[in-house]
């Protein structure tokens, strides 16, 4: 019987086996799939399918304003047969954009907390472009969310990818597109949107309570001065200004003090102080020097013949020389003046007491280019009295929002909050602030990120009627057409002297609120009454959920009148000062390490393409691992629970491995010029130490 011939020879079989083994080995050796390799969530991404109206399926023509514009389909495509073209010919008001349709079929579905890489190929003849995102809120419907990045001019097809921030809670869909708001033509094609959510590493923490509460340390040294004013400088040091320090003996002796505190070494260096800068205003200029305005010309007389008097003097403190240089006088004396830097780098100062102890009603304007205070008739005037240290926060359109947070005063007219438009010298009231006459030494903050345009005002009291300070917070969304404060969550309660628990509606004035690099707000310090009864309580406010987490570690040092807390470039919070009514002053220094400092390794910023960032630019950094987000935080310039310039500016990322381009807004009102602390936050929620960046 003949054996049938095998199908394959032994040699053939061996070759096949070798091939299969090689295939298997190659498969096993392949790297993991790239994180961004997800499904494209965009419907009709290449714009090839047309609807009955002749425009691509799932896309719509959008925008507003009296501008000459044309939407068209172009055969100049990146791929396929067509692209979308938008041309503006008479720009100046409004914008135009081709957007994804806001419907359940076309709008990409998203998951809260996730991040997405949005990409489009484009050509544009104008740089006046921006990637704009709307989100569908399950309670509010479609609302504007954010702007991500400017698209630079290019004549060749160029791909732009930007990673969204984490999708907010209650969001189930987003739509996006590229807005054009300058004369020119923008063509887009081949959109993609892929889930870029990164794995969260194991969050094991072995630091016990510190993992959730953080930890305070009282430094083994005291401040060399009464730290009533604190300014974080662009070199990471802290300028602590006392002037006479609320000490009439020092005033009489003309003993005025300032110190530079170096957090790295714990050293204090005395700075010659030319006048009594106690009760002055202060703000960083765009070059990082500090403009100090006004101060204390005199203390009140015992016979009641006059109250505090404001100085007209103004100085610039230069961190490079550690010295004050006098500039021209303000137009009026200013005791407790506000100081807000504008988008052009100029400074507006409002309120306070004049040289005659009366209310100062002038609008005082420091011209940055001319390095001088404008004369009374050179600045636009409303002749309105804004009270003392009125908290004036710069809005994204350049107007100032008076939050209602102030110092002293009782029964001021109006609703307690308003919007001030300097160019037109007009004021419009803003409703909704509760207990407007009990907002003395409350604190207002522009919540992270500044792009969201939300302000939280928390706590406050009234030093004249002296009720228990309350625990109300009010929240306002300045993106609304008719913004109004709405009730926020109550500040958690703490304990007072002797461990007595707060009860009822008891809250705090002299409260400090510090923006942290993880996007939360640390609330700490305060007291129940006029220069009395410190409250030991600290909490963490999360803007994403509008909730306080109670039970953070509390500063063991009382922090009432003349206390401040502020963020250090290393991500810790420093607290100084306490000046109770008995006339003593607590010069102890406390430093708080938030929980994120106990949760793992810190991300490292290993490279920075340039420290000088232009508006609308994309700036490259290198990091040592995956990054969740990046932001700029303006360094503190705080006194009396007032730091209206404190802000957290989100930097949408374009991610290419460990090289990340950070997209800065084109709008200087969102990030006024100056030096900022650049933080990145790792996927473990831990922030880096800051690098310093100069904006504008």
């Amino acid at each position: 019987m003949n054996r049938s011939r095998p199908l394959m020879s032994r040699s053939n079989r061996l070759h096949i086996a070798q091939f299969l083994v090689l295939t298997l080995v190659l498969f096993l050796a392949l790297p993991d799939r790239p994180a961004s390799a997800g499904a494209n969530l965009i419907a009709n991404p290449g714009l090839e399918s047309l609807a009955a109206d002749g425009f691509p399926v799932c896309w719509e023509q959008s925008g507003w304003g009296a501008n000459g514009h044309t939407f068209a389909l172009s055969t100049d495509a990146h791929s396929g047969a067509r692209s979308m073209s938008v041309t503006l010919t008479t720009a100046g008001q409004g914008d135009r954009k081709a957007m994804m349709l806001e419907d359940t079929s076309c709008a990409p579905n998203v998951t809260p907390g996730h991040q997405y890489d949005l990409s489009a190929w484009y050509k544009t003849t104008t740089a006046n472009t921006v990637m704009t995102v709307f989100r569908h809120d399950v309670a509010q419907g479609w609302v504007y969310w954010t702007d991500l990045a400017t698209l630079p001019v290019t004549t060749t097809w160029t791909k732009r990818t930007v990673r969204t921030p984490q999708i907010p809670a209650n969001t189930d869909q987003i739509v996006w597109g590229v807005t054009i708001y300058g004369n020119g033509t923008l063509k887009t094609d081949d959109y993609t949107m892929v889930d870029a959510t990164q794995t969260v590493p194991d969050e094991s923490c072995s630091a016990g309570d510190k993992c959730v509460k953080g930890d305070w340390q009282v430094m083994p040294f005291q401040s060399s001065v009464r730290a009533i004013h604190a300014v974080v400088l662009r070199n990471g040091n802290v300028l602590l200004i006392a002037g006479s320090g609320n000490d009439p003996a020092a005033f009489a002796a003309k003993t005025f003090t300032t110190a530079i505190y170096k957090p790295g070494t714990g050293q204090f260096t005395a700075v010659p102080t030319p006048e009594d800068l106690f009760c002055s205003g202060h703000v960083q200029l765009k070059d990082g020097r500090v403009l100090v305005m006004g101060g204390n010309k005199d203390y009140p007389a015992a016979d009641g013949s006059h109250g505090y008097k404001g100085l007209k003097n103004s100085y610039i403190f230069d961190p490079a020389t550690s010295a004050y240089t006098r500039v021209n006088d303000m137009t009026a004396g200013s005791w407790y003046p506000s100081a807000t830097v504008l988008g052009n780098g100029d400074v507006i100062s409002l309120g306070g007491l004049g040289e005659d102890s009366h209310g100062m009603v002038a609008t005082q304007y420091f011209n940055s280019a001319q390095q001088r205070w404008l004369g009374l008739n050179e600045a636009n005037q409303t002749w309105n009295f804004w009270g003392l240290y009125p908290s004036m926060i710069l809005m994204q359109d350049g107007r100032l929002f008076y939050t209602g947070s102030h110092v002293f005063g009782n029964g001021t007219p109006g609703s307690g909050a308003s919007i001030y438009d300097y160019p037109t010298s007009t004021i419009t009231p803003v409703p909704g602030l509760r207990k407007k006459d009990e907002r003395d030494q409350s604190m207002s903050v522009l919540l992270p990120p500044a792009q969201d345009q939300k302000v939280l005002t928390m706590g406050g009291g009234n030093i004249e009627t002296n009720p228990d300070a309350h625990r109300l917070t009010d929240l306002i969304d300045l993106k609304q057409a008719s913004p109004a404060y709405t009730a926020g969550p109550q500040i958690p309660q703490g304990t007072m002297t002797g461990g007595v628990a707060q009860t009822g509606d008891q809250g705090k004035m002299y409260v400090s609120a510090v923006l942290l690099p993880d996007g939360k707000v640390f609330e700490t310090g305060g007291a129940l009454h006029n220069r009395a009864d410190p409250v030991y309580e600290a909490s963490m406010y999360d803007p994403a959920t509008n909730t306080f987490t109670a039970g953070m570690a509390t500063d063991p040092v009382p922090r009432g009148y003349h206390s401040s807390a502020f963020l250090l470039p290393d991500g810790r919070v420093m607290a100084v000062g306490d000046n109770p009514g008995n006339g003593t002053f607590d010069k102890r220094v406390s430093v708080y390490s938030p929980p994120y400092l106990f949760k793992g390794a810190r991300p490292q910023i290993t490279g920075l393409s340039t420290p000088n960032w232009a508006y609308g630019s994309s700036n490259t950094i290198t990091v040592d691992g995956p990054i969740l987000k990046a932001e700029l935080i303006r360094p503190a310039a705080v006194t009396h629970s007032s730091d209206p310039n404190q802000r957290f500016v989100d930097l949408p990322m374009t991610v290419n491995g460990n090289s990340i381009s950070l997209n800065l807004t084109s709008n200087p009102n969102l990030a006024p010029p100056g030096w900022y602390m650049l933080f990145v936050v790792g996927t473990n929620g831990v922030p880096s130490v800051a690098k310093w960046v100069k904006v504008g």
Binding site: I16, A17, F27, L28, R33, N40, A43, P45, S49, C58, S62, W64, G65, S79, G92, G94, M99, P108, S119, T125, T126, A127, Q140, G141, V153, D172, Y181, G182, N246, D247, P248, G307, Y308, S357, H358, V361, Q381, W383, Q396, D397, R399, F408, S425, T426, T428, P429, E464, D468, Q480, A481, N530, R531, A532, D533, G581, N582, G583, S666, N667, N669
Partner: protein
């Protein structure tokens, strides 16, 4: 079956399983437009998640053609390779219907602010100290409150307005 054949068949099976796993677990790559479209419009529509239809309140949802009005602060920047974009500013908080308060006349009389603006009764102590103009609600014994809060040897600086120096020796709460 020879051992060689068994080995070859096992490897082939493993390779097939691996290949199938790879093919099934690999999500479609994003469109790599420079190398030809990786996603057709039909495929993209098919990848849209089928979620519940969210309710869009008609009173809240903006008209489709009026999304987030935006204006530029100044004339748009001149086009160019390195053109700087003009600020992109939104028209939020327009406050329709709210009357704008125009500038007042320059005041001819000062805006009076009480010397006790800081809530301290300057009839007592040094300026560094602060005897409250009004004590907290519920305080019935002011001297006890002052002692509890660390006030010591406070002198009457002007008038004993609050009656804290009944023996008129110029020092409050010393009896």
């Amino acid at each position: 079956m020879t051992r060689t054949r068994i080995a070859a068949l096992s490897l082939a099976a493993a390779a097939l399983v691996s290949g199938a796993t790879w093919a099934l677990t690999t999500r479609p790559a994003p469109a790599t437009f420079g190398e030809g479209r990786g996603t057709t419009e039909v495929a993209a529509q098919q990848t849209l998640p089928a979620g519940p239809s969210p309710v869009v309140p008609s009173s809240v949802a903006p008209p489709a053609t009026e999304k987030a009005p935006a204006v530029t602060e100044k004339a748009p920047g001149k086009a160019g390779k390195h053109a700087t974009p003009a600020p992109f500013v939104q028209t939020f908080a327009a406050q329709p219907g709210v009357t704008r308060q125009k500038a007042k006349r320059k005041p001819t009389a000062p805006v009076k602010v009480a010397p006790t603006v800081d809530g301290c009764d300057r009839n007592y102590g040094t300026v560094a100290q602060c005897i409250p103009v009004r004590f907290p609600e519920g305080v019935t014994d002011k001297c006890a409150w002052l002692r509890d809060h660390g006030y010591q040897a406070v002198k009457v600086a002007a008038k004993d307005r609050q009656g804290l120096d009944p023996d008129h020796n110029g020092v409050i709460c010393d009896r």
